[in-house]
Amino acid sequence: MQNIKSNKNHSAFTKKNLFITAGIILGFFVVMLLAEGSLLNRQYKSLIVPIGIYIILAVSLNLTTGFLGELSLGHAGFMAIGAYTGALITLNLNMPEVAEFIIALIVGGSIAAIFGVLIGVPVLRLKGDYLAIVTLAFNEIIRSIINFLGITGGAMGLSKIPRYTNYVWVYAMVVLTIIIIYNLVNSRHGRAISAIRDNYVAAESIGLKVSKYKVMAFVIAAFFAGIAGVLYGHNLSVLKPADFDYNKSIEILVIVVLGGMGSIRGSIIAAAILTFLPEVLRAADDFRMLLYAVVLIAMMLFNSSGIRTRLEESGKLPKLPKLTRNKAK
């Protein structure tokens, strides 16, 4: 009996995994229904791809910020590298659409990952706020260089990029990103990354190679940001360097923080809401940004100033599930 049970746990074909596979397929049909059916109007349908892109960006940034614990304000830089690399590939290759796009995605992600190694050098020397400002600087350096180069079209940017991105590609990439990052953080490598976040001195003392895992987290996050960039460019068909300034990085960071540091589910939900919300508020156009700002401040004050804990303890507020990492069952 014992033996049979443990055998079951060894294999990848557990009940849970079958369940997840079924969920992924079901999810695809839901997305297809939304994208092709008549449930949503055109305006909302056009949000499906951006939501997916922001999910990839937020989940990958969560790896560096939530799990590794290093504040990164340069995620849009990696995205820019992926976007431009991918666009240059599909603009210059003459291959069938699918082949071309797969190459663009892989190469775009990989080049971004190589830049992730580059940022690894300061990552190993700096901490906290200093690292944050260096990642921001890195973002601006990339934007500025793209602005300067001829091949990227300078300030005018690139246009006539084939519109390959559709909900099928985005859904596939979102699923891939979530699976890989979820699996990573729940593996020995992921535990090493979280251990470094919680206490790097102790992490070193138990034999973890701190530098290796810090760079690894940045590289993997950069790879997926690059993929998101490729999807982004092939959705809009035009790219401008100004699309990738540090405000874009901050936008992604806000999603991660509101979703909860170290919570993949939170990142997904927050990415969907924060992409959707501005569209809904379009009617109140002038007040949109104001409302966004007020909501942001109010959320942070509510969550972090102890008001929430006090209300929950006095019983005035039901204990909401915290969107932060909380594995204790």
Binding site: N183, S194, D198, A202, G207, K327
Partner: protein, 252 residues
């Protein structure tokens, strides 16, 4: 043959000689105590042994291997584990994950296996879980395996740190004030656990402690440190009756 051989160990910070010419020989399986007044350089010696600081002078050999200049993580892999005076747990991780993180170099699988969860992932994770639970059981922490480390009471946090150190499969375990902040009952229990760990896992233990009951109770040999230098070495009864040691602790 001695497991740890330290010769003429010394370090200066600026002009201050924090540790000066310390010699230390620990036999395999020994329970060794390192005592001395506050600021004597005890924790500094731990930091030198584990590679947090690089010594200015002297040699450190573990099982005949020179470890001076190695990084903390390399030193851990050659067989020294430690706990910290101010507890350093992975607070936002579960008790189980704290120990599993320390099994990192015992049970290995590749990054690709992590990404795609091939069948060896399930196999090796299970092996890790079993190993970790076995260690937690020794410290009576198996019931709290799914708690966040920060939610454990103080005494249990100290125990978890020892469990985590043990999980790296060390030859030598360094404990920095394991009984700090514990009441007499907890201390007595801890003494039992330390002895048990030594016997069960067949390791050597060097500990810093202020609680003399614990030191005389379990240490087979002690070294007294004062102002960074060796004051006395020997069996506890002898050393603690040494007039110089008494002066160092109580003053003239």
């Amino acid at each position: 043959m001695s497991l740890l051989e330290v010769k003429n160990l010394g370090i200066s910070f600026g002009g201050l000689r924090a540790v000066d010419d310390v010699n230390l020989n620990i036999e395999k399986g020994q329970l060794y105590g390192l005592i001395g007044p506050n600021g004597a350089g005890k924790t500094t010696i731990f930091n030198l042994l584990t590679g947090v600081y690089r010594p200015t002078t002297g040699t450190i050999k573990l099982d005949g291997v020179d470890i001076v200049g190695k990084s903390p993580s390399e030193i851990c892999q050659t067989g020294i584990a430690r706990t910290f005076q101010n507890i350093r747990l992975f607070k936002k991780m579960t008790v189980l994950d704290n120990v599993k993180a320390a099994l990192h170099n015992q049970v290995k699988y590749s990054l690709i296996t992590s990404f795609f969860r091939t069948s060896s992932y399930y196999q090796l994770e299970k092996q890790m879980n079993e190993k970790a639970m076995e260690i937690l059981k020794v410290f009576d922490l198996d019931g709290q395996a799914s708690y966040l480390a920060s939610n454990l009471p103080y005494g249990k946090q100290r125990k978890l740190e020892i469990a985590r150190g043990l999980a790296t499969n060390p030859k030598l375990l360094l404990l920095d004030e394991p009984a700090a902040g514990m009441n007499p009952n907890e201390t007595a229990e801890l003494m039992e656990t330390i002895r048990l760990v030594r016997d069960k896992y067949n390791i050597t233990i060097l500990l810093i402690e202020h609680d003399m009951k614990l030191v005389t109770g379990i240490c087979e040999k002690i070294l007294v440190l004062n102002f960074g230098t060796e004051l006395a070495t020997g069996v506890p009864e002898e050393v603690l009756n040494n007039p110089e040691v008494i002066t160092a602790y109580l003053g003239e």
